[in-house]
Amino acid sequence: MNVQAKSVGAVRYVGTRQPRKEDARLLTGRGQFTDDVRMPGMLHIAFVRSAVARGRIVSIDLDAAREMPGVQAIYTQADLAAVPVQMLSFFFTNIESPVTLLADGRVACVGDPIAMVIAESRAQAEDAVSLVEVVVEEETPLVTIADAKTGAPVHPDRDDNIAAEMGDEDALEAIQPLLDGAAHVVSTRIRHQRIAPSPMEGRACAASPDGAEEMTVWMGCQSPHLAARYLAQALGMPTGAIRVVARDVGGGFGLKNIPWREEVAVVVAAKLLRRPVKWIEDRFESLTASSHAREQDVSLSLALDEGGRFQAAWCDYACNNGAWPMGEDANIAVHMFMWPAYKLPAYGFITRGWYTNTMGLGGYRGPWAMESLVRETLLEKAARKIGIDPVELRRRNLVYLTDQPHTSSMGIPVEDITPGECLEKLMANIDYAGFRREQAEARKEGRDLGIGFATYIEPTGSAGSMAPMTGETVQLRIEPTGKVVAMLSTHSQGHGTATTMAQVIAEQLGVAYEDIAVYEGDSAIGAFSPGAAGSRQGVIAGGATWRAAEMLADKVKVVAAHLSNASVETVTIEGGMVHIAGAPEMSRSIREIAEIAYGEPGRLPEGAATGLEAQYRYQPPPMTMTSAAHCCMVEVSAETGFVKILRWISAEDCGTVINPGVVEGQIAGGLAQAIGQVLLEDMPYDARGNPLAATFKDYLMPSISDVPDFEYLHANTPSQTIGGMRGVGEGGAIVGPPTLVNAIADALAPFGEIDELVLPLTPARVLDVIEQRDVSGTRAHLDGADVAAVVEETNPAEVVAPVMAAGIDGDWNMVLKTPMGPQEMVAHFDADGAVVSGYLQAPEGRQDFSGGTLSGSQVKFEMKVEKPMKITLKYDLQFDGDTVSGKCKMGMFGSATVTGERV
């Protein structure tokens, strides 16, 4: 509740479609994207990349390239090694694979950067690149997840190709009887294609060494603060030695969350060469050598009772991490957020990320979106199988507000979510029965219409549980001219944060929107935040701005009251004017008050600071949930397999809507990407590990003719944050795919089920269902290449080990593989007979435990932790001489492996 609403800003700005502040420069060609940055003496970089997916580098011949005009330097990894680099994940943890900026003796995927040519022009650099001779002793590459399971390790120093693993095979023992005994069991399998994020502006980086330990970097990124912190940490430079500027960025979508090999290499080259340098990724590189996303193989089984109520579910998830993921990932978030919106008593999973000889996995809008796709498509499949309407099936299982607080099957506290209420709002605004009648009539005419639904929740505005996910700082001031300046740690790659934040300020401060200037996009402005990552800026920066503007308004009121010898309660601010109740003659402009606050300190209240400034850093609740229900109607041509989207209605609850134009823009952009994922986009690889989509003629981006007019319903349930916002950046890309797949499946229902969903649903794959044969060749391709995924059995052979002769007492270096990356720690054990006590020491601090048990060489103990949420860690360790291994059950995070050795 905004208590100031009565005394400030009678003009409403929050909730209105203010024209965007960003548009004036972007519409007139005056934006500043990285390639628009020109420095005197700036050189241009082009990369030599591997044309081979896997092998040992026999030789790199640079002689001919060095002779080319304009070439200033050519670097290989041997040269860059002069600058030590530790590549990091988004969580600021070390990357586990042996990733270097350029290939170090081996190549592990096509597109692997091998050398960088630095020349006076981009064209000269490319000329020289074409003359670099690289000889690679080629090995058979692993391309698919199936290849990874059986092939020789992609990284020779590792035991296998499991990049990351979570979950608990043992849990299947508890789930299986529930599946076996249920009235209905429905299963599905989805093979999600590989996506190239494809922002319209590819990656870009320019660096200029300024002084001994200073570097100015212009980068296409999603947060200059995060990029600066990453670069400083990865390069071991002092924080503050690197300033990152990103005025305008042509789309990010998660790809640009962190600097990656090429961007860091550009900075290192600038350090080595002591010259400003620039690298602009071309489209071929963007498609084939920027990090990819998705490519998952997921199976889900769901047990339901006679009444269609969910009983239990089991999921087996595999994701292709490629050779050099931006952080090894088993995608635990898929499992965390699969069921909290539904009442499901029991859930178990095993989830793995696999290394292959393909381009690495990176972030992409809604990285865990598979949870909604696999759940919502399975749910409608179940509805058809059981003979219940899909909306009714949801109603029987959704967690409505009246069911909250609720605890999910993985122990996640569920409150403040409204997926059911969004669904009811949606149903109240579409004529569902009417569509079903129309559908029945159309069937008689041989036309196949379909309707699909999806409901979901999404954690947004995450703060305080993961290193990069923090609060936001706002610095606000009223200039002596009466104009307002805001300095923010936000970043817009199209998000319009300057617009929305100015709207909040205008309303809370009582000034005109036009009188506010917002500065952002520079690590020298504001304080640390991860910018556009995890649907958070509207929530957190919005809250920070809201409060800072209130604080500044209070300051103006105090000064005005003092000047008029009135009480603060009588002061109101409206339209840039400050009024005293009952004394209209005492009204002053904010400018007049600002002039006094800056220039006539003697007229200020005793002890008041001069000027008109406020700063606030907002730490919101750890998570703010957004909910939505979507509906899509399609017509599928039984003749051609072509899908035409007729209508698409979104009912989302993102709390307080600052600017409906911006919010709807976020939803629409995500939905367009969803349509691309379901119908068009695909980055296939051939058996030799060659990416097969090298231009936008091969990689089909949705065009205006592929995307319908979207209809929006806003539910607007305020959240617990300051201002009541909820994040909306990723939702469309999460809830969109199942909505569209379900509509297509509904249209295809008379022909048959989509037994196994292989994306994208090309016309040929739609015809597979219509004609009940392998029109697309997908089946032949898959059956020839893969066997059905099986839940791997563990081998809990009970072997009673002898008590370890060397004992377990003392210190052990251990590594726990958590969803946020590997956590290193020192474990100390003291065994007193069969009772074990000790502590775990990590950089974050030390935590003691007691009451553990020693049995043979097995130690079990428990430890309660508060972060990222309250869970009990259950360690089960097996000691063998000077090594230790085992696992740690981490509540809802499943289980993680532990390895270590005696100190």
Partner: protein, 161 residues
């Protein structure tokens, strides 16, 4: 590389210079003349971001060599607005309707719209809408889902009659 003397007009300004034969018009406008409002996004002629007006026609500056523009009159996005800063109607329509987000594809979108609205001036709204929508099928926007672009098209079509 062979160099050639060319002379062309960009946004009303005359430029006489030498250019390498292989330089694309898009690169030349950006790097040679500093008109960085033109964006190169795919360089394969698919996405439309680099579209500029050449002798009144919308052309992809990535698929044309600078030497081919010798003697041409070129308008880039920097040249669309009036001298006093008043936005061109297509720029205003995009602004009014949230027709852009990151703005990288926008220069090409605006140029194509400007050409289509001029070529179809005075036609009935449905025909204008159809002409603009058809032309937009040659532009890729990753951010907006084309919603604001469609609304801008309707605004322009409505204003044309």
């Amino acid at each position: 590389m062979s160099e050639h003397a060319i002379e062309l007009t960009v946004n009303g300004h005359c430029h006489a210079t030498r250019v390498e034969a292989r330089t694309s018009l898009g690169e030349f406008l950006r790097d040679g003349l500093g008109y960085t409002g033109t964006h190169l996004a795919c360089e394969h002629g698919v996405c439309g971001a680099c579209t500029v007006m050449i002798d009144g026609r919308a052309m992809r500056s990535c698929l044309m060599l600078a030497v081919q523009a010798d003697g041409a009159e070129v308008t880039t996005v920097e040249g669309l607005a009036e001298a006093d800063g008043t936005l061109h109607p297509v720029q205003q329509a995009l602004k009014d309707n949230f027709g852009l987000q990151c703005g990288f594809c926008t220069p090409g979108v605006a140029i194509t719209m400007a050409c289509v609205t001029r070529d179809n001036a005075g036609v009935e709204a449905p025909r204008m809408e159809d002409a603009l929508t058809t032309a937009m099928s040659g532009h890729i926007c990753r951010c907006t889902g084309y919603q604001g672009i469609r609304r801008a098209i309707r605004q322009l079509a409505g204003a044309s009659t």
